[in-house]
Symmetry: C2
Subunit: 215 residues, 2 copies
Amino acid sequence: MLRLYGSRWSPNAKRVALVLLEKQVRFEAVEVDMINREHKNVSYVAKQPFAEVPYIDDEGLVLYESRAICRYICKKYPNQGTPLVPAEDDLRAYGLFEQAASVEIYNFDVHVQAAAYESVVKPALGMKTNKANYEKHLKTLGQKLDIYDSILARQRFITGDEISLVDLFHIPYAVELEDAGCDIMNTRPNVARWWKELKARPSWQAVKETIGSSP
Amino acid sequence: MLRLYGSRWSPNAKRVALVLLEKQVRFEAVEVDMINREHKNVSYVAKQPFAEVPYIDDEGLVLYESRAICRYICKKYPNQGTPLVPAEDDLRAYGLFEQAASVEIYNFDVHVQAAAYESVVKPALGMKTNKANYEKHLKTLGQKLDIYDSILARQRFITGDEISLVDLFHIPYAVELEDAGCDIMNTRPNVARWWKELKARPSWQAVKETIGSSP
């Protein structure tokens, strides 16, 4: 069976669990003890040389980087669970999917991740939040969400009118930020509508039951 | 004919030109006047809502985000020019390609881009370099390149033994940094061997002739 080496502390591991659940792929969740830095051990680094969480072992194929794992799962199980990538022969849909995938990384993730690092990770590790850095990334994130709002005024999801991997990729870090009291996902009408629909997916509710949620 | 709206100032535009040349796709390069902020104009933003360079117009299909455009080109022309993506039916190769694609973004690009911003872009705009920020990203980039070196000790390119899109994606920002006097790409044996081979590709030499090079 596919094994997901992750952690309830890791939004990136939750991203993979979420997609495995959407694709109805059975898997075993293995908790990596990040508090005791298990991911820095020699035996772990032999699997994931960058010493990060998560990776999967799919019957001997070891793969890391959460978005790569999710794409691999969709390629392996095209006719199972939710269709989350465009049809293989639809070139235009493929281009728009890849466009959205890059937008998620460069216009959303880098800022939401930096903001969550300041407001969630640092306090959890007993470090002091750099408020100026937090505000800087939140401000940029807001500017990007203004553009998201104009895109989501024209289509239901971020790639088009069907849900895709890219929509799901937004969930884990945005939930971290929201749980820390940040309301940014709810202050623009179309983003708020989209965000409400994403968070309510049964797959996201089930992630907590499969790999746990950060305390 | 495909039109590339780019700029000789933009490493991201050079990434697209590089891949178009490798795939032997004829295109017309249209210079966006970034100095006069043409990319912030209403007519430009109608095409690229995030007001960034580049985008393409491929017979009416408008697409932005450089890596997405490159993937789209490879999908459209599978049997033309250099093969730069794995065969459609090779699931393992696909997984490893996507793994490398994410590694490039999160372990290389974010740091090389931040370092180039401090040492190239800011001086060009008459702004003061934040040396601490430059050193921080260069230090992290060095740590990541140590891991790259161990990967490249086992294989010729970053995805495996064949060149791929992901190798090419590394070139434009690393050249910016090197042209500004930074030697980081040449200080680890396997990275240096790989880097020398990448830079020497005729396609990269030809990029300067097609969209120009930053002054």
